[in-house]
Symmetry: C2
Subunit: 663 residues, 2 copies
């Protein structure tokens, strides 16, 4: 064992947050805090001091903030990140000679045992500190040195030495010659706010045509934007807009028999018209895309594009770069398979190719191309079927150039794999939310997402439906189920999304019993939607998104707490800002069939409405107001009217001593 400096006596370990031994960053947005804890201790009985050090990666100097002891050798401090990009943090600790001396001097003073030599020891420490101090403090420390090293009553000089001012100055100029530093420099990726808070809408542009027969275009899609803006969405995510292959094209309802006029799956990428950097001719041109993007931006909507790294047999890559594909012994290219199912319209890349570097570079160029086109959000299709190392490299590289880029991982797979994708760099992740329907399922899952280490790096984006996922809950529950799931997604998770217009029009027809595929899925055909259907949820959605924008508590997942209700079909939870200036209390009836009522149990002290006074809960969905008192209150929800309350808590201040108003 090689020891470089045997005089470093402090051990630093168990620094948190630290993901997988420091291999991966945690995530934040500007304004968020990073609360750091560490264990730091020394041998013997000397006093240890501990600092959190941090900096934006681009900064030359570290900032430093003292850590506070929590007892049992643990320490805590925090810093706030304020700019997008990468930050670093780590911990320093040292045996503090002055603090040790001062603690002992206090004990000596109490025992009446201060000797001249004790003061001389402190005097020397003060003199040394004066050489490290700035001019002003150096002068003060020089005076203190003179005082401590003079002759005269030791007790009086001890009292002077124990002056809190001396302590404060000495703390600023510690002797760090033997300081230890934690052996990992940990990272924080700071994203823009949309990484945490946003309402997403997925839509197929080709279904935006003016008539049922027409193949919609990007221009038609642009015409649909005001409808989305009215509903209050922040992001419009488009399935691939790239050219669609014709070989083995799938017909309606995923049929292997393709009929004339069938439009094919947008995920079968590439044709004579081009590959991942081209626009499907039936949708329009790059110029049309630019117009769509510009119009969206005017309405406060940002576009998200799909990144699906796979090819149709007609993709130019297949001809130009056969070395990126796997060939079978019969000379054909290996298509995608999940035996016995065959996906002959899709060629996966062979990531084990000897030419992996060129393949990676080309795939990165796809993302960089669309970034040049002004796209800053990518929804990545099935990232768990491409190597993890590839994603880590790609995302790190792209974010070094463009730290504002957001990558959403569309992986529905085993927990560890989903977590690993988030760890290696994906900004956001799809979740199991769609399949968490009961109160216990929702509670357990959301607690895991928001109250464990996952909260440091896994940012959930909750979708009640997607083009692949029409859950049995929605199939069976219809419109009431859609309403309940909308409110749950939008209030449990700061980021959520819906696939529309199927969602707002409550399309709940599955392809077949037991399937989660939509009947007549837009993945394989054009659908024409009646947006003005009176049963549409568009106004409810607008209301919900409006509430989200108005209430900071709903813009983060940090303040989520679940509360008891004596009815398992009713779920109750609150979200609040740290200062309790904004508290939202949500109650949802999870049963789409029956009216349910029950008594909710509110932790009134925690939510700032404790004490004997009444308080008001204001339902932001219905605008109804209720006067509540104490922790136990009654609720009743009819799913056929609206299955949820989204209450804003208002403290009730009225009394005979005050004017009558609500805070």
């Amino acid at each position: 064992m090689r020891i470089d400096d045997g005089t470093k006596r402090v051990v630093i370990e168990d620094v948190r947050p630290e993901i997988e031994g420091g291999r991966f960053p945690i995530k934040r947005i500007p304004g968020e805090r990073v609360i750091v804890e560490a264990a730091a201790f020394s041998d013997a009985h000397d006093v240890v001091a501990c600092s959190l050090v941090y900096r934006p990666e681009r900064a030359l100097n570290w900032s430093e903030t003292p850590m506070q002891p929590l007892g049992q050798d643990r320490w805590r401090a925090e810093f706030t990140v304020d700019e997008v990009g990468m930050y670093r943090y780590t911990v320093e600790a040292w045996v503090d000679f002055f603090l040790t001396w001062r603690r002992d001097l206090e004990k000596r003073a109490v025992a009446g045992q201060v000797a001249h030599v004790d003061l001389l020891i402190g005097a020397n420490l003060v003199r040394e500190a004066s050489t490290r101090a700035a001019r002003n403090e150096a002068g003060y420390l020089g005076e203190m040195f003179t005082l401590l090293s003079a002759t005269g009553d030791p007790a009086a000089r001890a009292a002077a030495a124990l002056d809190p001012k001396l302590l404060a100055v000495m703390r600023r100029f510690p002797d760090k010659r033997h300081a230890a530093r934690y052996d990992h420099e940990l990272a924080v990726v700071v994203d823009r706010p949309l990484a945490v808070f946003g309402a997403w809408y997925e839509m197929f542009p080709r279904s935006c045509g003016r008539t049922a027969d027409e193949h919609g275009t990007l221009a038609d899609c642009a015409a649909r934007l005001p409808y989305l803006a009215e509903m209050g969405f922040d992001v419009l995510y488009l399935p691939p807009i790239t050219p669609i292959g014709t070989s083995y094209r799938k017909g309606k309802n995923n049929s292997t028999e393709c009929q004339t006029g069938d439009v094919g799956s947008p995920w079968a990428i590439g044709s004579e018209a081009g590959g991942h950097k081209a626009v499907h001719p039936q949708l329009g041109t790059l110029a049309d895309f630019q117009q769509l993007r510009t119009r969206a931006a005017e309405l406060g909507i940002e576009l998200a594009l799909d990144v699906a790294y796979q090819c149709s047999p007609d993709h130019p890559y297949v001809r130009e770069h056969p070395e990126w594909f796997r060939f079978r012994p019969d000379g054909t290219v290996q298509y995608a398979e999940n035996p016995p199912k065959k996906y002959q319209d899709i060629y996966p890349f062979d990531f084990e190719t000897a030419h992996w570097r060129q393949l990676w570079d080309e795939l990165r160029s796809v993302v960089l191309f669309w970034i040049e086109q002004g796209v800053k959000i990518f929804r990545v299709d099935n990232p768990h079927t491409k190597p993890f190392g590839f994603w880590q490299w790609l995302i790190e590289d792209v974010k070094q150039r463009n730290p504002e880029v957001i990558f959403l991982a569309e992986a529905f797979t085993r927990p560890r794999v989903m977590q690993h994708l988030a760890q290696l760099g994906f900004t956001q992740s799809y979740t199991y939310f769609a399949w968490r329907n009961s109160k216990s399922e929702l509670t357990e899952y959301l607690r895991e997402l928001t109250q464990t280490e996952l909260a440091e790096y896994f940012r959930p984006n909750a979708w009640p439906n997607t083009p692949d996922i029409l859950t049995e809950y929605l199939q069976v529950g219809g419109r009431p189920a859609c309403m309940a799931r909308l409110v749950l997604a939008a209030t449990l998770c700061a980021s959520y999304g819906i696939y529309g217009p199927a969602f707002e029009l409550c399309d709940n027809r599955a392809k077949e019993p037991g399937s989660e595929e939509y009947l007549d899925s837009e993945k394989y055909q054009i659908r024409h939607w009646n947006l003005d259907d009176p049963r549409s949820l568009r106004h409810l959605i607008a209301r919900v998104n409006h509430i989200r924008r108005d209430n900071p508590a709903l813009q983060t997942n940090a303040g989520l707490k679940f509360h008891a209700v004596d009815n398992d079909q009713l779920i109750c939870y609150s979200k609040s800002t740290p200062d309790l200036s904004n508290v939202i209390l949500v109650v949802v009836n999870l049963d789409p069939h029956h009216v349910h009522s029950g008594w909710v149990d509110i932790p009134v002290e925690e939510l700032g409405v404790g004490g004997p006074r009444s308080y008001q809960v204001h339902d932001l969905l219905s605008d109804a107001r209720f006067i509540w008192q104490g922790p136990r209150n009654y609720v009743q929800l009819d799913p056929h009217v609206i299955p949820a309350h989204v209450f804003k808590l208002r403290r009730w201040l009225r009394s005979e001593h005050q004017f009558e108003y609500f805070l």
Copy 2:
């Protein structure tokens, strides 16, 4: 981010056991297993294979054993260490092309969709494997290649390809070109069995004189050895036998007034007669020490010496190496202090000296000196007051030369510091056992020691008393308390020790109320003990140590389980070997004053005595036998007779069909 090989698709993480990110080894003795778990997963849906690889550090080649999948991407395998020294282990994993192909072929076969090209793909994998295989298997694989690549009915060839024999052979010669390896090589320190299982006895040689007036010698100590052997102790630990300083020597009962004839504290090390490598003249010579050691070895007793790195003012180091001490501004050496307490008879080393390397080397030479004298066990005094890095270096270095050496850490301090000392290399550790007296305290603490990660590296040595620790429980409880604590220490912990003869003679007189110091402590004076006192526990101790040697279940802490009793003054637990061939069930009355009875709740299935038949519990302390049936049985213990049962479970086999005997 630098990627060397993008084709490594498997991620390996969360390998356990792994202490502090792999910085520290786990501990074992020969014959013990290391059960390793890991997470390993790949992108996509390919089949992953995973191996545990391990070797003794001296070996050139790694051994390999396949890990079994536990689900959710976790894997498990184990290996057994069989020699003292250091072992290494880590994990390898790879996407297994053959296993993937075979899984898919099974599905194709079920669906009746096996094509010629599918078989050709497998044939190529088999051919490649044949180039990696040994001659015999290569021949077989060549035949299988011919079969798979031939023409003819694909279904029949698929059946042949699915032959388990082919699977078994292919598993032995996997394609590891893209294999990933976990990025830490983890370590196991393998100690000799005494590191886990041993009964220790601490005794002051100077109190072994034949008369009360006499200063005992090492020769007197040797004469005492048969007494210890009779009691069944494995280790005799001697407080420092080095020369004792005279400056500021402490008098009886730690008085600062030293009277003529006062013998001083053995921990005030060093005088004109020498320092850490000399024998105190009043005890004898190095030759006497050798005779003591030899005689002890003949009786199966090993000596443990004290390592106390501190000096009396008279130690030769003070004169020869003033640079190893801290000087005060008045030119005097800094003595040990805990203000306002002063220990002027003790000079600590200054581990922050610029000459720390020379200091470390000299301190190491002390241990090496005594190793040359045949000592292999060191009880280290207050290791937590010397730098952690020093100990890590010292122990690693010494154990590289002499892997059989055992270091016991005498640190009674905060949990994290005690754990850290064990992590950095101490073989065994003193514990908080002395202060855990109630059922809940004992249960919680022993569970922590034996059923958490601590069990991997922290080996408890339980002492009911030491020269520094006469607990209030012993003071108040007297002889019944001593009996209870003896049985608890000896059966809860595979390693335990007592400080005698104070313990077996039930000396319970404290220096003053509220103090844990013995009155007339042997630390400062000679005591003359009446070993033949009829109230001595020597015969009980002999019995307990005999039981420990006879019953393998008591020789490890792995099989400890606590069982419910409906009386809080009764504690019940069992220890068993993994195969249940030896099951010991202990019940202790924790109240030294009153008879207690209660119903114990035995997990009969777990302990192998389930079913309707009765079983016998044989009290190895009293030789009484009881017939029990089912989980709930009655016990009653009188602390004034003996406060414990140490039952051996014996399966009751008698029935009308069998001869009458106990297994």
